[in-house]
């Protein structure tokens, strides 16, 4: 007796195989399209900017002569900016996520807060710029300092970090928590030694992506009035400074076509900076991933 009707299968299998191929083709084209755009972008930037990239470019201040223009002030400014944003967002962001996930009672109010934090992540960055201008630059009289800009950027990326940390903490299997409680560990001990270590890959990824965003954002800096003609390195957190995106923006606006090359070189530096941050995220992820 024939359990399988071979004929019927052969009759319908061709259309299924075709559908399969078709769908696979669509996905392949989509991926290739993205890759092509990325490759084109990289090629344009590097072919345009490579000529201007050199150690002098990293070690010089900007200049009115394109050939002498360098990115020192902006690079140091951006690094210092990250030194403010990273600890502020990491501590406040992760603490908020722990509270919301582990401690907060699951009431409607908590829900409302969680939803609003997610919504904040979608607020245009220029709005945060206005907030920073009113609160930090003028309200707290911090001026156009590294600290004021750093706090503004922190507000901008905090929602991203909170949401991704929440996801990471939620993703820790409850077996682990229960096992820890079963061993007699208190809640804080459980969070510190069991939940957080397990959630680190997710938290780290969220943090680094948020920081990458903070490095590249221009609009809030423009609103804060961060200067671009800066021929000194910031001396402290209350010093005025300039940042990579501002400097690139300024170069791109110059009338002389040679400055477009300088701007491209600046973008390459910014991209390398971003890639370094991202590869750090990949590294942390890889390192802590296989533990559970």
């Amino acid at each position: 007796m024939n359990l399988i009707n071979q004929k019927e299968i052969l009759h319908r299998i061709q259309s299924r195989v075709n559908l399969n191929r078709f769908v696979k083709g669509i996905f392949l084209v989509a991926t290739l399209l993205v890759l092509a755009v990325l490759a084109l972008l990289l090629f344009r930037l590097i072919s345009q900017g490579a000529g201007h990239l050199s150690l002098d470019f990293l070690g010089n201040y900007s200049s009115r002569f394109a050939a002498k223009a360098g990115i020192k002030a902006a690079l140091v400014g951006s690094i210092l900016l990250m030194l403010v944003v990273a600890p502020v967002t990491l501590i406040i962001g992760v603490a908020t996520a722990i509270y919301l996930e582990e401690y907060a009672p699951k009431t409607k109010l908590t829900n409302l807060i969680v939803i609003n934090i997610s919504n904040l992540a979608g607020v245009p960055s220029i709005i945060f710029g206005l907030l920073g201008l009113t609160v930090f630059v003028r309200g707290l009289m911090l001026g156009k300092s590294v600290l004021a800009a750093g706090l503004t950027m922190s507000l901008l990326v905090l929602p991203v970090i909170i949401v991704s940390s929440q996801e990471a903490i939620r993703g820790v299997p409850s077996d682990l928590r229960e096992a820890s409680y079963g061993m007699g560990a208190a809640k804080w001990k459980t969070i510190l030694h069991v939940v957080l270590p397990a959630a680190i890959p997710g938290i780290a990824t969220g943090c680094i992506l948020a920081l990458s965003r903070a490095v590249g954002e221009t609009a809030p800096l423009v609103i804060l009035g961060i200067p671009v003609i800066v021929y000194f390195l910031p001396t402290g957190l209350l010093s005025e400074f300039t940042a990579l995106p501002m400097q690139i923006f300024d170069w791109a606006k110059r009338p002389q076509p040679e400055f477009q090359t300088v701007a491209a070189a600046g973008i390459v530096v910014l991209m390398v900076f971003l890639l370094l941050l991202n590869s750090l995220a990949v590294y942390i992820r890889y390192k802590y991933q296989k533990r559970y």
């Binding site: 003028r138 001026g143 003609i229 000194f232 957190l237 209350l238």
Partner: protein, 318 residues
């Protein structure tokens, strides 16, 4: 698990260090403030902050670049928020000087008075607003001021070249103008259009390169911007004569390129000059070198008497 703990510890130590550094920064700036009030000479560390017009920025950039090389302890920073944006910060007391491509407006002057900020106007260079059209535009050579007004004033219709002169093509004009925060826009609307509305369908941009690219790629495009931008893109654009006069160094300097040549200013906060010796020093350097730097970046220096007057005014502030 242990590594995770280390990581947590590292972040905590890192942030503690940072908070410490923050405190240190605070102390430092206070001490430099104290130095300033003690009328320190130019050797002491000092901050000078300016903002304003993107038209004036290239001149200041050259000056700051040269000044910083010889006075590394004076930290001068200059933003480029546009003339209006610059005055807003000046009124707020955030800056020591403000660059402007038009004189201060009455309402801005009133707000400055209200804020108790005394200031001095310094004329540092001349610019000629250049009217440009596409290279392939073979009909517009010379415009009268009235024609210019007719072209740029909003009348509720889509304008064609033939509306201005019946001999010109029946094609729609596309407009490229600096943005509303720029002094160039203000000057054009106030002095050429006499306060009437600029055409509504104009492409407005604070980035003059957008305007250059726009006119360059649009056969029916017309735009205006500072002389320096025209000079840098001379080969891609065609400049229009106004009343038979082409904008050149000579015509702008001699004042024959009217009414489109305009002075560029730096507004100085009197109190900053008085209290900060470095500020006096820097402004003196600025006035002494503005003419030369203006010429180098594509503007025109003002007559020597203007600089003399500026210097005298500065001496009186000290």
């Amino acid at each position: 698990m242990k590594k995770a703990k280390n990581l947590v510890a590292a972040t905590m130590i890192g942030s503690a260090l940072l908070l410490g550094a923050c405190g240190q920064g605070d102390g430092k700036s206070k001490s430099s403030e104290a130095e300033q009030t003690a009328k320190a000479d130019e050797v002491a560390e000092s901050n000078i902050s300016g903002d304003g017009s993107s038209t004036v920025a290239p001149i200041l950039e050259g000056i700051v670049e040269e000044y910083s090389a010889s006075h590394p302890k004076t930290q001068v920073s200059v933003g480029v928020s546009g003339t209006g944006g610059g005055f807003e910060k000046f009124i707020n007391g955030e800056t020591d000087f403000s660059n402007a491509s038009r004189p201060v407006k009455d309402e801005e002057a009133a707000k400055l008075k209200e804020a108790g900020i005394d200031y001095t106007e310094m004329k540092i260079a001349y610019d000629g607003i250049s009217i440009v059209v596409n290279k392939d535009n073979d009909w517009v050579e010379d415009l009268t001021v009235d024609q210019l007004k007719e072209i740029w004033t909003e009348n509720g219709k889509n304008k064609k070249w033939s509306d201005i002169n019946p001999k010109w093509p029946k094609e729609k004009i596309s407009f490229y103008s600096p943005g509303t925060d720029s002094g160039t826009y203000d000057y054009f609307v106030n002095d050429i259009l006499e306060g009437k509305d600029l055409v509504k369908n104009a492409t407005l941009s604070e980035d003059d390169n957008v305007l250059v690219k726009g006119v360059e790629s649009d056969k029916n495009g017309i735009g205006y911007f500072g002389f320096a931008y025209y000079l840098a893109n001379k080969d891609q654009l065609k400049v229009v004569k106004i009343g038979g006069i082409e904008p050149t160094h000579e015509t702008i300097k001699s004042g024959t390129y009217t009414p489109l040549s305009r002075p560029l200013f730096v507004y100085v906060k009197n109190k900053s000059v008085k209290e900060n010796a470095s500020m006096y020093n820097f402004m003196k350097y600025t006035i002494e070198n503005a003419g030369e730097m203006a010429e180098a970046v594509g503007y025109v220096k003002t007559p020597d008497e203007d600089y003399k007057k500026d210097l005298e005014a500065l001496e009186n502030l000290k």
